[in-house]
């Protein structure tokens, strides 16, 4: 597809998405769409790092911070989410820097990086549970209903409004993806993901580049958490933070395809539709079945289709590029300590 054709396709697609809630008003389907958009945004945020071999299992932590900081500021201090969300994003960004800097400075990569970030989401989950006097612990937490101005409290009963908000946020995520995709940082990070030493020797500031992308990814994930909290008006530590959420992000991104901008979105569509279908088809008997299917799919995808559904389909459509770049060919390449 030429550049202009692609732009037209995006325009038509967007116009269709924007007009959709005004034409079609079924609340249940709109609800599913909003969820898909919010989670797509979260998965896209994860893939910003993941595509460069920075596999993080700490994003559950960032999402939890986004959701809980916003809700706590609103309930306890009466700070509007319009201020609370940026504050929570800054908090997640700070945490990302605190954990990310030593990781990148001391060359913690591969397994080590995954496990350190795993610790991060573990900490956030445990802190939320431990401070149960404020956060409600594992029973969950509900932001107070706004008495007056709904707009100030960012609480809307109307699905259409939420749909448009989620769409805007999701679109923002895609735009950031493309900005990164066309920046110099992308080449730097691709070089880093293939060989850190060689990249450093070629003049890439490895620590700074990795920190930059981590910061972007963490801040976006926190935003996703905050939006999710404002939309659902109920959060529990297990739905917005912890290892399960982190793994869910990884799973959706890989199924959709992490190297293409719409891959995580495709992943979100597939996972959420799968979960909903199972839930409707089997009712309460379906508890656990969706994760069972997820797990099997995840294993199968990693073995047979590491580029994800969308990534593989796009590859089929583009036979002219005979030699894919090495880092895409091997999915995620990571420099191992000691090699």
């Amino acid at each position: 597809m030429t550049g202009q054709g692609r732009l037209v396709a995006w325009g038509i697609g967007l116009a269709a998405l924007i007009t959709l809630p005004f034409v079609y008003r079924d609340p249940y389907h709109l609800h599913i769409l909003v969820l898909i958009l919010i989670w797509s945004f979260a998965y896209t945020s994860w893939s910003m790092m993941g595509r460069f071999g920075l596999v993080s299992l700490g994003h559950g932590g960032f999402m939890g911070i986004g959701a809980y900081v916003t809700a706590l500021l609103w309930n306890h201090l009466g700070v509007s989410p319009w201020i609370g969300i940026p504050v929570s994003m800054v908090a997640a960004g700070m945490l990302a820097l605190i954990v990310g800097y030593p990781c990148f400075r001391f060359r913690i990569t591969g397994h080590y990086f995954v496990l350190v970030t795993l610790a991060l989401s573990g900490i956030v989950l445990q802190v939320i549970t431990a401070t149960r006097d404020y956060t409600g612990g594992s029973l969950g937490y509900t932001p107070n209903r706004a008495p007056g101005n709904k707009l100030l409290a960012l609480q809307f009963d109307d699905k259409t409004t939420w749909y448009l908000i989620a769409l805007a946020v999701w679109l923002g995520g895609i735009v950031v993806w493309h900005l990164v995709d066309r920046s110099m940082s992308r080449y730097a990070l691709e070089a880093i993901s293939e060989d850190e030493d060689a990249a450093a020797a070629a003049g890439v500031n490895v620590t700074a580049e990795k920190l930059k992308i981590t910061l972007i990814s963490a801040v976006m994930t926190a935003l996703a958490g905050a939006i999710y909290c404002q939309y659902q008006m109920f959060i529990t530590p297990d739905t917005v933070s912890g290892i399960a959420v982190s793994l869910q992000m990884v799973f959706a991104a890989i199924v959709g395809g992490l190297f293409v901008s719409l891959g995580p979105t495709v992943g979100a569509v597939i996972t959420i539709l799968l979960a909903e279908t199972l839930r409707i088809g089997f009712g309460t008997k379906a508890v656990g079945w969706d994760n069972l299917v997820y797990g099997v799919l995840l294993v199968l995808f990693i073995i047979f289709l590491p580029k994800g559904i969308l990534g593989s389909v796009l590859d089929r459509l583009k036979p002219q590029r005979k030699v894919p770049r090495a880092h895409e060919q091997k999915a995620v390449q990571i420099a191992r300590p000691g090699t």
Binding site: G53, V55, V99, P102, C103, F106, R107, I108, G110, H111, Y112, V114, L115, V116, L118, A119, L120, G122, I123, Q126, V127, T129, A130, G242, I243, A244, L247, V250, F251, I254, V287, G288, W289, D290, N291, L292, Y294, G295, V296, L297, L298, V299, I302, I303, P306, K330, A331, V332, Q333, I334, R336, P337
Partner: protein, 293 residues
Amino acid sequence: MQAFLDIFDIYLLEAVINGILLGGVLALLALGLNLIFGVIDVTWICYAELVMIGMYAMYFMVQYYGISYFIAAPLTILLVAMLGALLHYLVIAPLLTAPPINQLLATGGVLFVLQSFATVAFGIDFRNLGIRLPVLAFGDMNFSYARLLSFLAALVGMVAVYLFMTRTFTGTAIRAISQDRQIMALMGVDTKRIYLITSAIGGGLAGLAACLLVLQYDVHPFVGLSFGPITFLICVLGGLGNFIGGFIAAFVFAEIISLGGLFSDLEWGYVLAFAFFIVMMFIRPAGLLARRR
């Protein structure tokens, strides 16, 4: 004031000793994970879930079929060892040439599978073995026999693995492979077979841990999440694949959790342990015992 201090010290001592007892089981878990990492260069994210399956196996054998604990335990160890080998055969072996991170994520998928399999098959109820071991009173301190027994059994398990690794031909081959993966194949060692054996041993250790943990904790499908992350942190803190480092780190962590739990809630003990871990990553990024590069 003096009386207060006396009581305080007794509690402190009790917490320290309980920490050591907890450390034994954690060290056992870390050993299994380290073994697999050291030899096959794979992190089984689903390791704690294997333990969970083992705990369920113990529960059903002892509670439903009335098999004695001491007969059920070897069966469970065997079962989980087979599961470990199966995991390697089905999931890891096809991915051996893939980047390491893909192997890790694939075992993450297995984590989902095992967890939801347990949810679907056994429900989300908390179950326990119904064996109540007496409490050992020593001075003013109380220790549960279950913990003492676990500690001893964990030590025996670790010594057995140590002897296997140093005294047998297969053990020597395993250690050799962990030093150089490529060369050993040229030396006529069947790496595939060694990998399978290692996975089975790793699974067996998870099975042993399951037999011990089921004495102390209730089983439910998400029980793995309560000690899985800690196990990974211990391995990283000790240096992945470093057996002695993992052993020491297990006790350090157990003490932090135990003492943190003494002064505040148990969760804060975990938070402290996690925070300690991240601080240690600044100071010794390659593990406690790593040589400076």
